[in-house]
Symmetry: C2
Subunit: 287 residues, 2 copies
């Protein structure tokens, strides 16, 4: 295992410390390193919580993975005034190692950005829940892995994959996808993924959309932009107009080489919310 770390026991703590120190203008770390939160909370606005923790008067945005859903269900039962959006944008497999139903993957970022902007503008909780469900329903993703990730505590790759193989539909924890294949050209890879996304969207796949090409952690921008180029051409030939774009490594699987393609069909309201000012560690514009 070749990673920058001191000890597998402290890798998460030290990485979080660095993350919060590098973004100390906007972030604070919670007790016992259990969560990262906004440094300044705005009273009177709905809080969004993603991936851990619990609270009161808030909206959970949870990727559809059994452990996550179970923990957030328990947290919601212990609190009043909590609603949940469970994302399930991955078209690769219907059920998987860790889910009943589809997995929630990179499309979760799109839901979080759009619902986050609406919460910032003061939208009440029930409307935020409805908006989150609507964006999730307009979003589809699928990924492809060229290599496995290596979990620090395990010290070896999560799965074996040949030097000329790729795994279509891989999950963000390295769980199996829909099939193993020989490595193909970028256009052929994009063709399979985009066709799956468009087929699943059906009649909705027409008009303005956000195209998000997401790296898994070990793939450089040069290749992600090339995949974006391939995917965009395919979508635009089939009636989708790419009006918003995001390319980079945001929803990652440690050091896995690979990427996912996410398409979110946009309306005027969701376009405006996507464009609304944002200042997070990952996304920043308009402020």
């Amino acid at each position: 295992m070749k990673k920058f770390l001191n000890s597998v026991d402290t890798v998460l703590t030290e990485s979080l410390d660095g993350f919060v120190a590098a973004h100390s203008d906007i972030l604070a770390i919670g007790d016992e390193h259990k969560f990262v939160r906004r440094k300044t909370l705005k009273p009177g606005k709905v809080a969004l919580i993603s991936g851990g923790g619990s609270g009161h008067g808030c909206l959970f945005i949870v990727k559809n993975y059994e452990g996550d859903v179970m923990n957030f269900d328990m947290a919601a039962e212990m609190s009043d005034g909590v609603l949940q959006v469970v994302t399930n944008d991955d078209v690769a497999v219907e059920n998987s190692s860790y889910t009943t139903g589809r997995r929630g993957v990179a499309g979760t970022l799109v839901v979080e950005k759009i619902v986050g902007a609406a919460a910032e503008q003061g939208m009440p909780l029930p409307e935020l829940k409805a908006l989150g469900d609507r964006v999730n329903a307009a979003t589809r993703s699928m990924g492809v892995a060229l290599t496995s990730c290596t979990v620090p505590a395990a010290g070896r790759p999560t799965f074996d994959i040949g030097h000329n193989e790729m795994e279509f539909g891989v999950g963000i924890h390295g769980e199996p996808g829909r099939r193993r294949d020989d490595l193909k050209g970028a256009d052929a890879i994009a063709e399979e993924i985009c066709t799956a996304i468009l087929g699943d969207l059906g009649d909705r796949a027409w008009g303005p959309a956000l195209l998000f090409v997401n790296g898994f952690g070990g793939t450089p921008s040069m290749e992600l932009y090339l995949m974006y180029n391939s995917a965009r051409k395919i979508f635009e030939k089939r009636g989708v107009t790419v009006t918003r774009s995001l390319v980079g490594s945001y929803v990652t699987s440690l050091d896995m080489a690979g990427c996912s393609i996410t398409l979110t069909m946009l309306e005027d309201e969701t376009t405006a919310l996507w464009d609304a000012p944002v200042h997070t560690a990952a996304l920043r514009w308009g402020m």
Copy 2:
């Protein structure tokens, strides 16, 4: 070679097409795919050119590599009203495969951002040249590689490196560094790099600074933030106050796993210019 591409002959063209399409609000591509430029040029302001092309009334910012310097010298001779800043922030080696003197590496981004902000504010050409030289003189970098990059046209790794080895002081084209060593913990790696940077800065290594941890393309954010955490602690113990931070993969070597650490000692003027609004594909804040 496991990369997302269609053909090694078209990889650059297709990647640039994707890059410009994804950032079509701010970027345009030049004839024959020879350069990428701002979509909207502002008359009356000095143009900065980095990495290729030539022009009139402009400032070239050139990393110190022999081929680059030679080409930009020729371009400057063919044009009037051109000045150059040659960056040479890499403390790893005094001369190298491709340079006489030190190499220009990730610190170039810091020079470009600060000089770019000053040009945007209308600073004249000679002052921009002096500012660029001053920021370069306040900047030191050193990198470490865990794996080689693979140039698409070559199809195999640029250099061989063992499963438990790292290369200290590697160049951004994969050229040899100062020494090969067994892989160490993050703190020990940061200690060697930060000590080299501080030793080279000498008496200047005191007070406010920008700490920039740069990934080479194949290393995920989690490890970069951990390295940032290690480096920050070392610098702060020795009299440097980290007042500005940047963590991410910006000055890359294709898919190489590894990172560099850059320290720029800041003054009030250069801090304000770093903070000035920027909207590029890589950096965006304040607008």
